[in-house]
Symmetry: C2
Amino acid sequence: MTKTESAKYNKVVLSPPVPPPQAGRGRNEMPIYREILEQAKAAKAASLVLANASAEQRNRLLLLLSKTLIDQQGKVVEANREDLAQAKAAGRNSAYLDRLGFFEADIRKTADALSAVRELPDPLNRLLSENKRPNGLLVKQVAVPIGVIAIIYESRPDVTVEAAGLCLKSGNAVILKGGSDSLQTNTVLAQILRQSLEKANFPAGSVSLVASREHAAVDYLLSLSGYINLVIPRGGESLIRTVVEKSKIPVIKHYKGVCHTYVDKAADLNMAWSVTLNAKTQRPATCNATETLLVHRDIAPDFLPEMARLFQEKGVEMRGCPDTRRIIPQARVAQESDWGNEFLDLTIAIKVVASPEEAIFWVNTYGTGHSEAIITGDNLIAEMFLKEVDAAAIYHNASTRFTDGFEFGLGAEIGISTDKIHARGPMGLKELTSYKYLVYGDGQVRT
Amino acid sequence: MTKTESAKYNKVVLSPPVPPPQAGRGRNEMPIYREILEQAKAAKAASLVLANASAEQRNRLLLLLSKTLIDQQGKVVEANREDLAQAKAAGRNSAYLDRLGFFEADIRKTADALSAVRELPDPLNRLLSENKRPNGLLVKQVAVPIGVIAIIYESRPDVTVEAAGLCLKSGNAVILKGGSDSLQTNTVLAQILRQSLEKANFPAGSVSLVASREHAAVDYLLSLSGYINLVIPRGGESLIRTVVEKSKIPVIKHYKGVCHTYVDKAADLNMAWSVTLNAKTQRPATCNATETLLVHRDIAPDFLPEMARLFQEKGVEMRGCPDTRRIIPQARVAQESDWGNEFLDLTIAIKVVASPEEAIFWVNTYGTGHSEAIITGDNLIAEMFLKEVDAAAIYHNASTRFTDGFEFGLGAEIGISTDKIHARGPMGLKELTSYKYLVYGDGQVRT
């Protein structure tokens, strides 16, 4: 768009004649609330500009963003060094510092990710359905952006850039609230984002960063349902539960992934060993790692001893049911609390089952609707499992670790949903869109 | 399914070994909470059976339901007569009693609606996408039910049957909470629903009615996010705001419809008069009736006098801006509070605008994202309006009154959403579905 158009919308945005009734009241005289409210208003205004920008304009913005990020990486690394030093002084552990660190190699990787997003097909303006009615009305359903999306996440600077990139590519304005330990890094990244927006003639309000360390600031943000259309929390279960508890805005979320791999009696043993080992150990701290292994009793004596050897080689702690421990006594006794537990670690619960039906029942009882796998050579049993298990992704003869936007061919991922509303499983660009109905008539009236 | 299968699932359902952690605690020892918790558990269990029932089985259920409803209409009318008498004694107005009344003609109409739903295409098991990955994984995305849906609505017995019919057709279990004044009618309708479920060998928990008159019962229901996947409130704005405020479960809703009709300078005058009159007066109490008329200043002197005459003929009260009142002085002075007001009555606000851009700005500022129309012969202006207005349905040369599931060809409607998440605009059967990913491999592991 031209500068003039952009300015026109900016004006529209910054002085809405009527504040939506849902906006928080009273508190908005305090500076931090006032700032958040202004950010939300500016984001809503910017969302109208973004929705009408062409794919070329949005892609040019992403190109400018990845260039500016590389050009100014020195400033980013410097700010990140300060964040890291403070977090270290505060006693954060090494895994935490690892996620917080944003070095030149990470910045290059993030810039490459932006380029990959840029090259993805435009998710907007897709014709989703078309229906000519008997009265002559033509009803078209067309993909449009969601509007304003708030992303609430932990101290991970890579998320700042990648989430902003995905939202802008899909025509959404975004409000970012990262963890407090990454505030200095995020502040520099937000400057880079704003500079890129200005160069590309987009309203600066398209991206904003909530710079407060106060919890009350997030609570206030989550009350602004008149301006914000969707909240995506990313992080640990407690962060997500807090967001759901407080939010007056729709939330798409994923509490946790308690994934199962069921080895059926008709499984190919070599495949079952390799897939189960991968599902447990390839990255045990991820939500799509397998936490419980279910084994059909007929194959358990052949399958479990070698599986146990492989697990032990990788340092996996096994916790088994009584039938499991009769075959592999080296497994510890599983407690009731081990079933349905998300270990996020090199620990696995193992249960022998009498039938695929029992496996399905078990998965639907203890699973969290994330990713579930069956290993079997029997296609009928596999189809039953895929049909009857209630989860976002169900695998036949593959590792649960594949639940991921890139692996599913979505090209990108802003998160994984275990909700059933709007998006389920990996969320890519299409999942960041809504739609509107365009209805073409020649004077039709309703009778 | 067979009785045995149904019984198996019933067993699964009624004794889940681990109560989901989100379930309300403490309160569940009180009889009403205990009952609601049992209903929610039974609904979740039943949802697994419904999800795996064939389209034929679900259609047979709807057939039995409409037959049973007709067979037992005497009992329904009798219970409704008591509800009506009590509501009248409590001083309810005639419009209210009209919605509460459920007579033989209404019952026949409802049975016909069930038949129409039965004949709609099955919304389940549609292949939404299919993707063969470079590693050989085949990723299929398939439509499945949402699971358990709670419908919270006013004292309208027709909603009880129609909402249940739509949920069952789409394989969802449903928990119904109707207005207290319809409790006796709903109790009989729930018996009819349960009898039909049993005859068709579906678990009785597929449909349940929250029979309490206590507000706390609804609050408790809205906390059961471990069992219920979606809440759809239907009714006035305050009911909907209360549900959003309390719910820990995703809500799809529609607060209100402040719809505009914009008559552009290139409008056909006859079309503009007829469409505007229809949009305002055909059923003024509905959410898709036009509340504000915007008129381009160049056409206002030709358009407004005859429009005013037509409005006055129908008893419409006009409230105009100063420019409007210079042309039609019979209009009252519009107050600031008239813009963006949902009159739901024979009242219209009228504003003269200088350009289509001003109309778009006005609509995006005062509208509620429901239904907006432009009347113009200029297709470029129309395209601009359709693209830049942010609403669920945008009309070129047609009445805003068409926003409706039947009119859009969805075949049915459970409600209209002004959210942008999951469903926007009229919600039919497809909007009552989610999806799952089925992934077919031959031993793939992630590296």
